[in-house]
Amino acid sequence: MLKKTFGELINLLVGAILIISLLMAGYLIFANVYHAQELQYDYYINDEGKTKRENIVKKIDDADNRLSTISFTVFGVNNKAIYYEKIRLGLKICTDEFKKMELYKTPIETADAFTNYTYYKDFNSFRGECLAYQMGVIRTTASSDLYEDEKMVSTLAMHQPVIYQITASNTVLENWLMGNSSYSYTTVDTRNTIYNPTKVIYERLLDNYEQSANILDEIVDYLEEVRATATTGEVTQ
């Protein structure tokens, strides 16, 4: 009798274990289905975003054309001509890098987690190649004893805070984007880091692209100004 009761108790225990397993598995399935749906959130790009993208593309095309036509032969063959040519080539690398990016190549109607990551990845490689490396080279060259181009140094110094801000914002975006891969269960916090920011991340990325295009445009403006004000006196320098 006691043995039988004991056996029934064990059966009851197994039943309890199975109920716990069933509840946990059910929770896992529902939480994961919900998470997958959240990650598939689409943000429809509004007209403002489309116009902004068109302006960026236009600005880069314009800067690239001007860089292709600008010539410093008026300075003859000397350090100054070499210096400006160096800057021109550095900027040309920047515009070429920009043209490789997905945002430049194809206009989009909707943004999702995948689009945002593609834009982020493209921009990150552009930031490394152009804003960090090429701008660094230009700054070092401009401030060197050989050229001492104070105007260029001050122009770059003016843009430096914007470059820092772009870099910092890019790190925030990276953390934000990566956050959607590590997941336990949906709370208000996880929801805020998954689908709600799709729009915000897209717009922040677009701002970064726009600011970078503006920086390139302004430095090309400066080069054109130098070229336009070049006098014959400088040629003999």
Binding site: K3, K4, G7, I10, N11, L13, V14, G15, I17, L18, I20, S21, L22, M24, A25, G26, L28, I29, N32, A36, L39, Q40, D112, A113, F114, Y117, K121, L177, M178, N180, S181, S182, Y183, S184
Partner: protein
């Protein structure tokens, strides 16, 4: 009908266990290769899967009705293993998770590792339930067999003889 559904669940749970094992092992292999870790480190994670598979083979070979005809156990096992397969599938194919691209292995190792603890626990729970049910059945089965045999013997006797025996026993007792 119930037997047919149970039979389906038995087949399904074994298939799901094999798929789940494959998906989890594939994920661990990718992750460990990227980290230059030895594959032997995955043994503690794969151990419950192997134990459960052995248990299921024993259940099948021994035709253990206590498990094979236990509807509640079967449906729980199918749901648990289905959840694990879903997690393994998402780790490989849900491309919306950004870490999928991050390490260049086209897999979401952090998502898998987030769920590994729960997966291990669930598989151990299934294994323990199966083992306890089988042991419990073994202990009490003997009694049941003796009872069944007595009933069989009584049923084989002619009805009049049984009535006679009962009556003589009653008079002796009186």
């Amino acid at each position: 009908m119930k037997q047919l559904i149970n039979g389906l669940f038995v087949v399904l749970r074994i298939l799901l266990l094999l798929v789940a094992m494959g998906l989890i092992f594939y994920g661990l292999l990718l992750t460990y290769t990227r980290l230059d870790k030895s594959v032997t480190d995955s043994i503690p994670i794969m151990l419950p899967f192997v134990l459960l598979l052995i248990m299921y083979i024993i259940n099948l070979m021994g035709r253990q009705k206590i498990i094979n005809r236990n509807f509640f156990y079967n449906i729980t096992a199918v749901i648990v293993l289905g959840a694990i397969v879903y997690i393994g599938y998402r780790a490989k194919f849900d491309t919306n998770m950004m870490l999928y691209y991050k390490y260049g292995i086209n897999y979401s190792p952090s998502y898998l590792s987030d769920n590994l603890g729960t997966i291990k626990l669930l598989i151990y729970l299934l294994f323990i339930s199966d083992l306890v049910l089988v042991i419990n059945y073994r202990i009490f089965r003997e009694k049941k067999v003796v009872k069944e045999k007595v009933i069989e013997v009584v049923e084989e006797l002619p009805k009049e003889e049984v009535v006679e025996k009962i009556e003589t026993e009653e008079t002796v007792n009186a």
